[in-house]
Amino acid sequence: MTPTPSEDKPVEPERSLREKWREYRKPGYYEELDYAWTMTIDLDRCMGCEACMVACKAENNLPIVGEQAFARGREMQWIRIERYWEGQYPDIKLRFIPVMCQQCEAAPCETVCPVTATYHNQDGLNVQVYNRCIGTRSCAVYCPYEVRYFNYNDHHWDQPLEQQLNPDVTVREKGVMEKCTFCIQRIRLAKDHAKDDGRRRVRDGEMVPACVQACPAEAMVFGDRKDAASRVSASLKDARAYRVLDELNTRPSVIYLKKVTG
């Protein structure tokens, strides 16, 4: 169904099945992404302050599940700080690893969804379609990073906290799976601005997800790795760069820079 054209926006013509097939059959269909959003996290700088978690919660309308639900393990935190320590205080060695959806190129969660509520889009992101999710939770089982979170019940915000909700992001109902989206609403907004500006590409640093924006230590760098001049492409060349659970060949888009100790 073609939408009614408005005066300023050009309308994309509907593509026929044959055209879609031809595009699919063009070599490099998977490799040719519009953008390849990547995040680098410098573990040397991360101090575990959890500002990223609070920012994510505010930006993406994450519910506050309450003490009881949290104690039962039903937390809702799209980004979490994993803490690993050795030794006893004061000789303790502590490491923080912020883990969010790694937006894997070969995501195990995408294949198993029976209704295709999660798939890989042309920006290299693993998208979650809340409306389509029927809640089988198999994607959460298949994810090795454990970054998918399920809405076990409907959530409500005490007045007047619902005024703080982000209007660009939906509020999910019970039975729906959710996870970090690299703040896809901000990406969409940036792409819209770029298009309005005359169809240019989104510039490096023009948009960052909430967690990257909030980090006081500037441990996180976000950008498009297709752009060779971006900060994130430079940080990929760092000798400390590694991917979590690389041996599983999920090809995540989140790169960590190892903390060098001693």
Partner: protein, 171 residues
């Protein structure tokens, strides 16, 4: 009006022999009604061919084709890359094809069975309820009353415990 002569036998061997005799005497389709399938039926009454196999075979082929078309066709209709896998991967679609092959094979077998045994039966046909318990019946249906009488005589000769004449009711 068609009449049937039904001879009830206690011994299945006798029933089969009587049916063979009736066939030899030129009666069209003597039916041996029994509570269990009889081993000697084909020997006495001639070999039967079953077309159900063909139904199964073509049903299975149709199922395989539909299964693959369903899976591959719907995958291509709305291109959703998942997990870096190809849009038309063979291992998963082979499974779908396999299951649909068996599904259609099963349904085709049922349809073949119903068609070749002419069930469900609409008209009342020659039947004796004892034949579902422990008697073996031989039934012959003819339009000509005289022939029916001949059949009844043959059955009595062959040792039927009881012979009945049944008028078929036209609906």
């Amino acid at each position: 009006m068609a009449t049937s002569a039904i001879g009830l036998f206690v011994d299945p061997h006798g029933a089969l022999a009587a049916a063979a005799k009736l066939k030899g005497a030129g009666f069209a389709a003597p039916a041996v009604i029994s509570p269990i399938p009889l081993e000697g039926a084909e020997a006495a009454l001639g070999e039967k061919k079953s077309i159900i196999k063909r139904f199964t075979f073509f049903g299975a082929i149709l199922g395989g084709a539909s299964g693959f078309t369903l899976a591959a066709g719907t995958a291509v209709l709305y291109l959703h890359p998942t997990g870096g896998r190809p849009i038309i991967p063979f291992p998963p679609f082979l499974i779908i094809t396999y299951e649909m092959t068996i599904l259609f094979g099963i349904l085709a077998t049922v349809i073949g069975f119903l068609i070749s045994s002419r069930l469900p039966a609409i008209r009342d046909r020659a039947y004796a309820p004892e034949a579902a318990v422990d008697r073996f019946a031989v039934a012959v249906t003819c339009d000509d009353d005289e022939r029916v009488a001949q059949a009844a005589a043959l059955l009595r000769e062959a040792g039927a415990a009881e012979v009945r004449n049944v008028q078929e009711q036209r609906p």
